[in-house]
């Protein structure tokens, strides 16, 4: 039986869109080149953290949406629909055992990054909420001797410099593992084991002072996260929070895993290792997308196609030294400058971001890719997430909000529109 919808990309956008489409009763499948970008992200839902050249983080993201560029995905979706999409996502993830929540009144929360900077986020997973700057209580940032990419002294000192009382403590590596070298995922798996949890609790007892919040690298269990968090909080009688690590990032992986399992439970296949390399269209209608296999390309037919391959980092775009910059599956028209001298501003961390990152696939109000003249490129193609033009999710700290809002809006449009074309 023909698929109603083929989603290309298994990041937050693709998985969210597939879930929404499956809920609406569409026959949907997800294909992706590899594991999606959720594996790199801190697992927070960031709606809007920074605006333009403003140095201060945005306090109330929904109140600032109309200051974004006119064709920014949020402005196409509209604040009300975007809020509804995020709320739907919060409810669904709660059903999957992930308890996302934020500050009261729609304010951004601020939690420590792995270098001790405050990161603005709209929703935090349960494990990160006690790290909010709003709380005010002193922190002890706990690391482990020899753990790569997590330096408690650096984090604590930077937090202190920003007015947050914080100190660092380092526990022996052997608390976590008898193995020589483990990354954050493997450490989280080790903490799924009750014996490792107990070792950690015993070790923490010796270093934590009364009244301190305990900040740990985000390794507090992979499958048993909720149990680990509860055990630590209760046994130590202290607030405990995770600080998302450099990739691989366990809170993002927990979210990816929960979404994939939910899809599998609904009979939606998520096929990894399938790189979309070509497609065939007839009279402006896409008939199939092809993925690379060990021999011949494999055809994936569907009535509608949703492109959710992400931005530059996610793999939605590629470029070459001649200055060509293209969308990788359909070679869609882009707003990105086709002159490599105009891709980047001189400063790497320019608060305004870079033109190469704000450029992308322009869409109409139904999230269908359009050309420069505003014409729909393919009648049965939609796009959502990091590849959309006029947003710079990294500089804006809007990656997850744009992903969810545009994924939901695109699926709503597909429900309304696709079958007229097919």
């Amino acid at each position: 039986m023909m698929l109603d919808l083929l989603v290309i990309g298994a990041g937050l956008t693709g998985l969210t869109a597939a879930l929404r489409a499956a809920e609406a009763g569409l026959r949907v499948k997800v294909i992706a080149k590899g594991m999606g970008a959720l594996y790199w992200t801190p697992g927070t839902i960031d709606v809007l953290g920074y605006l333009g050249a403003e140095e201060r983080a945005v306090q109330r993201p929904w109140e600032r949406i109309d200051e974004l560029p006119e064709r920014h995905p949020y402005r196409i979706v509209g604040v009300k629909r975007a809020q509804e999409a995020i709320e739907w996502f919060r409810i669904r993830t709660a059903e999957l055992g992930l308890d996302y929540g934020g500050r009261k009144g729609g304010d951004n929360a601020l939690t420590p990054s792995p270098v001790g900077a405050w990161r603005p986020s709209y929703l935090l997973p349960a494990g990160q909420r006690a790290g909010d700057a709003e709380d005010g209580r002193p922190m002890v940032i706990v690391g482990f001797q020899g753990m790569r990419d997590f330096y408690p002294h650096l984090i604590a000192r930077n937090l202190e410099a920003q007015g947050q009382a914080a100190r660092a403590a380092v526990l022996p590596w052997s608390v976590l593992s008898e193995r020589r070298d483990r990354n954050s995922v493997q450490l989280a798996e080790a903490l799924d084991e009750p014996t490792t949890q107990q070792r950690l609790i015993d070790a923490l007892r010796l270093v934590v002072k009364p009244g301190e919040r305990i900040g740990l690298p985000a390794i507090l269990g992979r499958e048993a996260h909720a149990r680990v968090l509860t055990a630590l909080t209760q046994e130590l009688n202290a607030a405990v929070f995770e600080i998302a690590t450099l990739p691989p990032s366990v809170p993002g992986i927990r979210l990816a895993t929960a979404l994939r399992r939910s899809l599998e439970g609904r009979g939606v296949r998520v096929e990894i290792g399938m790189e979309a390399i070509d497609f065939h269209a007839q009279d402006g209608v896409i008939e199939f997308v092809e993925t690379a296999t060990s021999a011949r390309p494999l055809k994936h037919r569907a009535k509608a196609f949703l492109l959710a391959t992400g931005g530059v980092l996610g793999g939605g775009f590629d470029s070459n030294p001649d200055g060509r910059f293209w969308e990788t599956v359909f070679d869609l028209p882009l707003t990105t400058p086709q002159d490599r001298r105009r891709w980047f501003r001189p400063l790497f961390l320019d608060p305004q971001g870079h033109p190469a990152l704000r450029g992308g696939v322009a869409v109409n109000d139904a999230f269908q890719p359009i050309d420069a003249a505003g014409n729909v490129v393919y009648a049965n193609l939609w796009a959502a997430g990091g590849l959309l033009a006029h947003a710079d999710p990294i500089a804006e700290r809007s990656l997850e909000g744009v992903a969810i809002a545009s994924a939901v809006a695109a699926v709503e449009a597909i429900k309304l529109g696709s079958f007229a074309h097919a």
């Binding site: 590899g34 193995r179 070298d181 990354n183 990739p247 691989p248 290792g273 690379a292 021999a295 011949r296």
Partner: protein
């Protein structure tokens, strides 16, 4: 100098963004410190392997099982498994290869030798003393699930014996059986033949060699080239006339399609024609199904069946066609494994220093099977060495999906592993 080039993998090296997704999924580094993980051994160590240097900088690559999970999950398309295979070949070229690895690489020869007197060969290999000696002298783990030679003749013997009963038809398909079907498990080939004939196809079984994968994964590229050359010579002609070449061993078909051409830089016209004409049998049957040409006169199979798509099947990047087609069988209750690897990885788990690693890797899969409950009678898996490992790790018999399909057509007895009498 090493018989390797870095030709096709060099450029993918720069695609590595150090995200560690591969290391997080690597089933081997998850269970042993002896293998630090694909990112380190692959794209990182590779920086030190360039430019005709005389010695390899990193020997832990020998602990890569070659399962290709890293390739599967990599979001940027780095060909990590190929990097590792080439690095291993370079070490073999530098240091030579122990007798054990030479033997394990030559399963065609072993199959042939044992088949002269299979009962004797089985006795000679499968007794406690021999296995003890094989471990002590050669380093082949005594508990490892080595196969037994078929005592009812080879697959080709059966073909000869039943020559008069085989279907003749205008629709033809070429069958690549591989060594395991030929010498150890002829019933897999019988199941494939009856399924193909049931769908109206005459099955052609040309002379063929081992696909060469055991040699490739043991780093013997030159010997593998000879095998691949022979297969290309014997099979490309069929592919050129448009006949599909289907195989029941997913690792053999993967080797014909991709591993051999890629690792051996073997891309001439005949090799490419063979590559493009070769199919995993379920990949091809799915095409028949999608064209509305697959017979679906399936009888109910009231079974709970845990199915594991092996690494070498997933490396085809064709989805899971066996799962899709088995789902058409009434009353068959399929459970899909998401375990990364069974651990055996061809001949990896036969080696004494790697046996326990292979069992620890497989634990995830064995647990999955156990979680499916007491009434599970069989597991299913497309790859022979993985089935043997599954049986070893779960104590449940394992079947190839083609056996399941043949049984659902009423042509095959799953318990006796033979075609049903009177059904060809």
């Amino acid at each position: 100098m090493a018989p390797v080039s870095w030709h096709s993998v060099d450029l993918t090296l720069d695609e590595c963004i150090k995200c560690n997704i591969c290391t997080s999924h690597c089933p081997v580094s998850a269970v042993t410190d002896l293998f630090p993980g694909p990112k380190y051994v692959g794209p990182q160590a590779q920086r030190f392997r360039e430019g005709g240097q005389s010695r390899s900088p990193d020997h832990s690559v020998d602990y890569c099982s070659g399962c290709r999970v890293c390739n599967e999950v990599c979001p940027t398309g780095v060909r990590i498994a190929e990097l590792n295979a080439r690095a291993r070949a370079q070490i073999v070229a530098e240091k030579g290869l122990p007798l054990r690895n030479r033997l394990l690489g030559r399963n065609e020869l072993l199959g042939k030798l044992g088949s002269f007197a299979p009962a004797l060969a089985n006795f000679a290999l499968h007794n406690a003393f021999s296995r003890f000696m094989a471990e002590k002298v050669m380093g082949i783990a005594r508990e490892a699930p080595l196969p037994t030679w078929s005592t009812s003749g080879t697959f080709r013997d059966w073909l000869k014996r039943t020559r008069d009963r085989r279907l003749k038809s205008d629709k033809k398909v070429v069958y690549f059986h591989g060594c395991a079907t030929m010498y150890y498990e002829p019933f897999i080939g019988k199941a494939a033949v009856v399924v193909l004939e049931h769908n109206g196809y005459e099955v052609i079984v040309p002379e063929q060699n081992c696909c060469g994968l055991p040699l490739l994964s043991n780093g013997e590229f030159n010997a593998a080239r000879t095998y691949h050359h022979n297969n290309v010579s014997r099979l490309a002609g069929y592919a050129r006339t448009g006949l599909p070449i289907v195989g029941t061993s997913t690792s053999c078909t993967l080797t014909l399609k991709e591993e051999a051409p890629e690792l051996l830089d073997y891309h001439d016209e005949p090799a490419t024609t063979l590559k493009l004409g070769t199919y995993d049998i379920f990949e091809w049957l799915r095409e028949l199904y999608e064209a509305g040409e697959l017979r679906t006169d399936f009888q109910p199979l009231p079974l709970k069946l845990p199915y594991h798509a092996p690494c070498q099947q997933r490396a085809h990047r064709i989805g899971k066609p066996a799962l899709e087609l088995m789902a058409l069988i009434p009353e068959l209750d399929l459970a899909e494994s998401h375990a990364r690897c069974c651990g055996i990885a061809g001949t990896y788990g036969y080696k004494v220093e790697k046996y326990q690693i292979a069992m620890d890797v497989g634990a995830e899969l064995f647990e999955f099977v156990k979680a499916q409950g007491q009434d599970v009678r069989y597991t299913a898996c497309d790859s022979e060495t993985c089935r043997w490992q599954l049986e070893h790790g779960t104590a449940l018999p394992s079947r190839h999906p083609i056996e399941i399909l043949a049984a659902a057509y009423g042509l095959y007895d799953l318990e006796r592993r033979d075609v049903v009498a009177g059904k060809r």
